[in-house]
């Protein structure tokens, strides 16, 4: 590579698309490539994380990347002292986030080892009890967020408050509750990574051991040996399946088939056994309908609880399939038997000493792996679902008070600007004057909306500057699936016209008709037997996985959600192709080979 030309462009040369001028002001100063730091920043390799954040951030939503990536880093750097890896630095540029892992200087690695062994070792040794405590902490945060509500300011402070000598007004709770919500979700994001990095570390150890024993072993075979199958991440889908089965058994299936959610529920209620079914539906909602078709990182993500038509749609599909004589339940016993068969057949091919090490490493990987799947339900789905619900309520309140013309206006403000707005709201209320917000924000939000829309017209770069000779940072490899090979794919990807290559993420090979899905609202367009092609998928798309034959994504590694769900549902998957969703058109006949990572457009 020529020293002057980088493999990927510099952020400093990447201009914003027309109409997006001034985007820099929408994000905190510390998240931007600062002009004065060009020389330093261009020395680093940055890759775009479009797996978690495929769309440009609204200013408020940028908080999700801040909390998530900061908290990922703290555990490597400050809690466990992962010997070779600190956290991941990140910047927002033209609305997308770019990541750059920070390694530990080679001479410092050795000193961190004893601390890592002491600190991380404690977690591995006490995993079940610490995890039980984790569930309590996360649930307590959820409960506290649920209990918080935002009330419009009344004309006067309640007389009881006055007589009780409270000495405070209604703005107090408003600002404190807002701050508390932010602090609670910040805490929750710390919990998110309390176990996750360690889970990946144990998996990486097992993975490396297997690759050394069997250099040609497919990554997916290793994943299959530790996969749990009864993860809470798949519970929402399983609950809908159970409800479908119950509806058929109770004879209320017909009543569910038509009309809006309210109409269908009313129709069921009028059936002899209807009340029983409705009770089961209500029971399933808490907590399992705290589930989004998005990934939890956007204020626009739709959650089942607030859009009951989504689970009802899946339910109707399952009822049809039950009535057609299909088995919709996953064969759990068979899946478990298969997992054990795979493990024992590889073990048979090992020396006795290796087999013993195998048992130890696989045992630990199986202990920690469920967290890698489960946490996603508790944090991204449940916790974030409650958080967004409360934030949308606050945005709506301020919309009704005239601060912005649409219900979602608040999300065009940064989280700190929202504090200002709350103060403005309380301030003018207290002094008896007029709010400044309703004259300031509507046109400012409109301007920002224009910027975000303009940013979305331009796709992110896969990466910036030059990659290192070899990627050695363990979490980059594990979480993002970025290796020296995959980087080569990003560059070569555009030249091969009829074929696409990605990661062989879930085994099997099929041919079929492609359905390109660019956002979750299109999910109901999918027809039975099609192949889902998408920039990225969310685990909550699981209910459509019963309809499709295979999945192809632009982004994601072996441990991406698409890969996990496909292995769980026994569907072939190729992930991280770079450009499948733009190269493949709905209706194309394609061949997907989840064993080799090849995707071919046939016609």
């Amino acid at each position: 590579m020529d020293a002057k030309t980088s493999m990927f462009p510099s952020a400093y040369d990447l201009k914003a698309p027309a109409g997006a001028e001034g985007w820099e002001d929408l994000y905190p100063y510390y998240l931007k490539f600062q002009p004065a730091l060009r020389e330093k920043e261009d020395q680093k390799f940055w890759f775009c994380d479009s797996q978690h954040w495929p769309n440009p951030f609204k200013p408020f939503d940028a908080m999700t990347v801040e909390f998530a990536v900061k908290c990922l880093g703290q555990y490597n750097t400050r809690h466990y002292l992962v010997p070779p890896a600190n956290g991941v630095d990140y910047r927002i540029h033209n609305g997308y986030v770019y990541m750059s892992p920070i390694g530990v200087a080679p001479e410092l690695i050795e000193d961190r080892v004893p601390q890592f062994m002491d600190r991380a070792g404690h977690y591995f040794q006490n995993w079940p009890s610490l995890l039980e405590n984790w569930h309590k902490k996360v649930k307590a945060n959820i409960d506290e967020m649920e209990a918080i509500s935002f009330e419009k300011l009344p004309d006067v402070v309640p007389v009881e408050w006055v007589k009780d000598g409270v000495g405070l007004d209604n703005t107090t709770a408003l600002s404190e509750n807002y701050d508390r919500m932010i602090q609670l979700i910040y805490r929750t994001w710390q919990y998110h990574f309390e176990f996750l990095n360690l889970g990946y570390a144990a998996y990486l150890d097992f993975f490396g051991f297997m690759k050394e024993q069997f250099p040609s072993i497919p990554d997916q075979a290793i994943a299959k040996m530790v996969q749990g199958h009864n993860s809470d991440l798949f519970r929402p889908d399983d609950e809908v399946k159970k409800l479908a089965r119950l509806a058929v058994e109770l004879g209320v299936a017909e009543a569910l088939k038509t009309g809006s959610v309210e109409e269908a529920l009313a129709a069921v209620q009028s059936q002899p056994e209807g009340a029983k079914w409705v009770a089961a539906w209500e029971a399933a909602k808490d907590p399992w309908f705290n589930y989004t078709t998005g990934n939890g990182f956007y204020s626009t993500d739709k959650y089942w609880n607030e859009h009951l038509d989504i689970p009802l749609g899946y339910l109707r599909n399952y009822i049809e399939r039950i009535e057609a004589g299909e088995t919709i339940e996953r064969p759990m016993d068979a899946l478990h038997a298969e997992r054990d068969r795979i493990a024992s057949e590889y073990q048979e091919m090992m020396s006795p000493e290796a087999a013993e090490a195998f048992q130890g490493k696989m045992g630990l990987a199986r202990t920690v792996y469920p967290y890698v799947e489960d946490h996603n339900f508790y944090i991204e789905h449940w916790s974030m679902g409650v958080f967004w619900k409360k934030m949308r309520a606050l945005s709506k309140l301020l919309h009704e008070e005239g601060f912005w013309p649409t219900e979602d206006g608040m999300f065009y403000l940064t989280r700190n600007e929202v504090r200002d707005v709350i103060f403005d709201y309380g301030n003018a209320w207290a002094v008896g004057g007029e709010w400044a917000g309703p004259t300031h924000w509507p046109q400012e939000i409109e301007r920002r909306r224009g910027i975000i829309d303009a940013l979305a017209t331009q796709a992110p770069q896969p990466a910036l500057n030059n990659p290192p000779e070899v990627i050695t940072e363990p979490f980059t490899i594990m979480l993002w699936g970025i290796t020296s090979d995959s980087i080569k794919n990003w560059i070569g990807g555009d030249e091969a016209s009829e074929g696409l290559t990605g990661m062989a993420a879930s085994p099997g090979a099929v041919e079929g008709i492609a359905r390109v899905i660019r956002n979750p609202d299109q999910l109901d367009e999918i027809e039975q037997g099609e192949i889902l092609v998408a920039p990225v998928t969310a685990p909550s798309w699981a209910p459509v996985f019963g309809k499709i034959q295979a999945t192809v994504t632009d982004i994601g590694g072996m441990m991406s959600h698409a890969a996990i769900v496909c292995r769980e549902y026994g569907l072939p998957a190729v992930t991280g192709t770079g450009s499948a969703s733009t190269k493949i058109k709905t209706g194309d006949r394609i061949r997907v080979d989840g064993n080799t990572g090849q995707v071919t457009v046939l016609s």
Binding site: V82, P83, P84, A85, I109, V113, F116, M117, A120, G121, F124, A201, A202, L204, D205, F207, G208, F209, K211, E212, Q213, F214, P215, S216, I217, P218, Q220, A221, K224, R341, I342, E345, Y346, M349, S351, A354, A357, G360, K361, V470, I471, T472, E473, P474, I477, M478, T483, S484, D485, P507, G508, A509, N595, T596
Partner: protein
Amino acid sequence: MTKFTLPFSGIGTADHARVGGKCASLGEMTQAGVAVPTGFAVTTDSYVAMLDETGLRAEIQAQLDSTDFDNVPSLERSAQAIQIRFRSHKIPAAVEAAIRDDYTAMGRDMPVAVRSSATAEDLPDASFAGQQDTYLWVVGADSVIEHVRDCWASLFTARAMKYRHDHDLGQIDVLMSVAVQKMVNAQTAGVAMTLDPLTGDRTRIVIDASYGLGELVVSGIVTPDNFTVEKVLMEVIDRKVSDKHIELVPDVAAATTVEREVDADRRKAQCLTDAQVIAVAKLAKALERQNKCPQDVEWAFDADLPEGENLVALQSRPETVWSQKPIEQPAKSFATGMMGMVGALNNPVGSKK
């Protein structure tokens, strides 16, 4: 007790010495429920009877006594002479009757393959299999009897004699059995190895496949399609489709096989469906489990049998190259517990590529 012939289904462990490696394996496969074309073994008892009741033994011995094994022309002359002696004697009547009975029991004018099953041929450490002749598409009892005798005679090719001489195996002491087996009307056929022959990787099954009978694959006359199957997941992980220009097919009228050009549209097409590839891999894996060591399996899809029952094993024998090597331990020792994890983090596997 002398047994001149034994049906595959009746070959017991005690019979292995007198039916040779190939028939013993066919017998074991038949009894383990593996689909194998039916047939019978003409035992070494028959061969011994041939040697002893016709005076052939003395004639061969006399010829061997005058052979200079280090002189190629002398060796060639001896081989020719011994083979002529074989053909100049009739097979003993009792042996002929046994072959005739067993052949007739297979069905009227059943086309069969007549193959050698030498007792030394398939020893795992003596990879000179295939040195004796194989006759395909043999029809009628008279022809079968004639070809059994030809098989015996093929024990005395110059190359086989030289090999036995060099390895001190004895000449007349090496006995031969002959397999008479229903001819497979092969749509596709080939070889499956339960390890990667290039690397010895035992997590893989490598399959060569082409149209028609498998002989062209074995002899290397046609470049077969090549499939790699992951042994544990049972998934096709690599496929190389080749230009398969000829196929060996039966010429029923002439009671023989002929090489035929493959039609243009089939030549470059994948000759097995993925499902068929997996079926072959499963068969090979089952045979490896049964025999407790890596196998080299010849298989075919028989056009005369119904779909789903049409995959047959023709032969399974221990793989001879990699099996002789000790299992290679990974060069790096593995750390366990927390040190293992530290090692994995400091040197993650993805970074080594």
